[in-house]
Symmetry: C2
Subunit: 335 residues, 2 copies
């Protein structure tokens, strides 16, 4: 039984927030020189995206009694930080596509992608700094933002380490995605809460909500690598498998008592650090017949429910309801 | 006539500061996990170096009445920021050596060098944040640090742009090195001044001192590429020429009315974007016989004197004298 059934549809409200974020982001790249540095940033930041992190910041600020619109700059700083990680991760992972378009290191080159990413961090801090002057918890927001940057790098390092380890436990995997994916959502949420000067108990609930939302989001991402329509998802189907990623699916399959033939397929994947395009359908069949895809769906559902449980401890408000609705949407997303 | 002749030798004092910086830096990489991320940072930060930036921060804090030792963390944050730029620049420039040792992207790989650099930024902000709590001008220090990060990236972008342009004016060159090299020294200096709660006029003098010190330092660096003992300097002789850099020497030579044969050599350098190892001695002869090396020496001397002129407007103190002494040392350095 879903105890947090949402009747209301918040699509329009979130669309309005997304537009505010887009406008704020535009100010950091439009007509800024040198163009060799800011054109790739324009390319990345104007390519749409869900704007999940700034929307979480704005709604969390709203849920603690602040006007969400006031937190658009803080939230946009987090969106820039997020896009910085994508830009650099794509070089490290040699990914060719992002949101259905060439990645920056492919369209330009590695040097451009490194340097544009670097300046994005500076720009993100500048935006955050400009929006928190005079706020009581300004240094808390900066501490959180900085810890988010550190943790997301450490998470990416673990992810890269895992690619050369043969055996990753579910605990190790969960720790890695907590740092690599959940942390930035947590920081987005608590920056919103700090912006609204929330008390410690509320900050804790909001942090836990975002942590679970992040876990659901990442497991969903791992699943969509295989099940999403690639033109809609913006990445190639099975890209993670080609790169030899230790995704939720691979780690979960490793825990299972697989039939011999399936075990051999998994062992080969781990030994060869990935498979070819042609081998993807066979791998999907294996993961499906051993209920690995089903397990992933259940894990997504579990973390989505946990996220909403923590939200339910907040004072009831439209923005709290919008966060509930957003959690459902993210847990059911197909792109 | 040098009106700021220093009798006193500050070597021992600066050595003591350097040790404090080294100890502070150790705390950011020693026994920190994952090692895949922090080992390259240990490699970079424990490789010595002049620690010019933190020493400038400490001495500037001292010159405005603060205990220099108290500013060691702020200064170390700037040293980390500086090393982050070196780490990423070395990837972009495909440099094989730094301080006489393999660069990180060569010893490990590009992905490691990118990610270790990224987390260094986070670590630098964390260190800065931890040391400025309760300080009146904490947000000014963060603003300055952030603007430094942005400017140094923009300076590097200009440097990369210049490599594909055939004609760079001396003005363009000076603007580029102001952003790429002087700015971090400026920020190091004014963070020290803000730390000591200096008034605006003093901050301005300190900023101008550091700007000129940075210009002298960078032109010296360009000159040392050709004149330094490579084992002492820690880089290959003529590395900039091999990379096709538009250094002070190349830009200055381009301004001159060169004999036909020399003009052809310079045109070839610009057309081919660099020269081979064998062609370096001929290029040095050409730059020397046309007084380009002498012009560089004069420019270094000029900016060194300007730096000291601005220092002379500060209240007289031991730390002010140490800054004068340091400026002389840097203008005469051979490594």
């Amino acid at each position: 039984m879903n105890t947090f059934e949402n009747k209301q549809d918040f699509s329009e409200e979130l669309k309005a927030y997304r537009l505010l974020v887009d406008t704020c982001l535009e100010s950091v790249y439009k007509d800024i020189y040198p163009r060799s540095l800011y054109e790739p940033i324009e390319y990345v930041l104007s390519s749409g995206g869900k704007r999940l992190r700034p929307i979480v910041t704005m709604l969390c600020a709203g849920a603690v009694g602040q006007k969400p619109e006031d937190a658009v700059q803080c939230g946009s700083a987090l969106e820039i930080l997020h896009n910085f990680t994508l830009l650099h991760d794509d070089i490290m992972d040699s990914s060719p596509l992002r949101r259905g378009r060439q990645t920056v290191h492919v369209k330009w080159d590695d040097a451009t992608a490194i340097l544009s990413g670097d300046v994005m961090l500076g720009v993100a801090y500048r935006l955050l700094l400009s929006s928190i002057k005079g706020k009581e918890r300004s240094l808390d927001m900066l501490d959180a933002f900085t810890q988010g940057l550190i943790d997301v790098c450490e998470g990416q390092a673990l992810d890269l380490d895992f690619q050369s380890l043969s055996d990753i436990s579910m605990n190790q995997y969960m720790q890695m995605i907590e740092m690599k994916t959940s942390r930035l959502l947590e920081i987005s949420a608590i920056v919103g809460a700090f912006y609204g000067n929330a008390n410690d108990e509320t900050v804790h609930s909001i942090k836990e909500f975002a942590r679970h939302l992040g876990l659901a989001f990442q497991i969903q991402d791992d699943l969509l690598d295989l099940t999403a329509d690639s033109s809609e998802f913006g990445k190639l189907t099975g890209q993670d498998l080609i790169e030899g990623k230790k995704s939720y699916l691979i780690v979960r399959a490793s825990e299972k008592n697989l039939p011999l033939k399936d075990k051999e397929l998994l062992d080969m994947y781990i030994r060869k650090k990935g498979i070819s395009m042609e081998e993807i359908p066979g791998m999907i069949r294996m993961l499906s017949s051993n209920d690995v895809l089903l397990d992933a769906q259940n894990a997504i559902k579990f973390h989505g429910e946990q996220a909403k449980l923590h939200l339910s401890t907040l004072v009831e408000s439209t923005h709290q309801k919008a966060l509930m609705w957003l959690t459902d949407k993210m847990s059911q997303r197909t792109m």
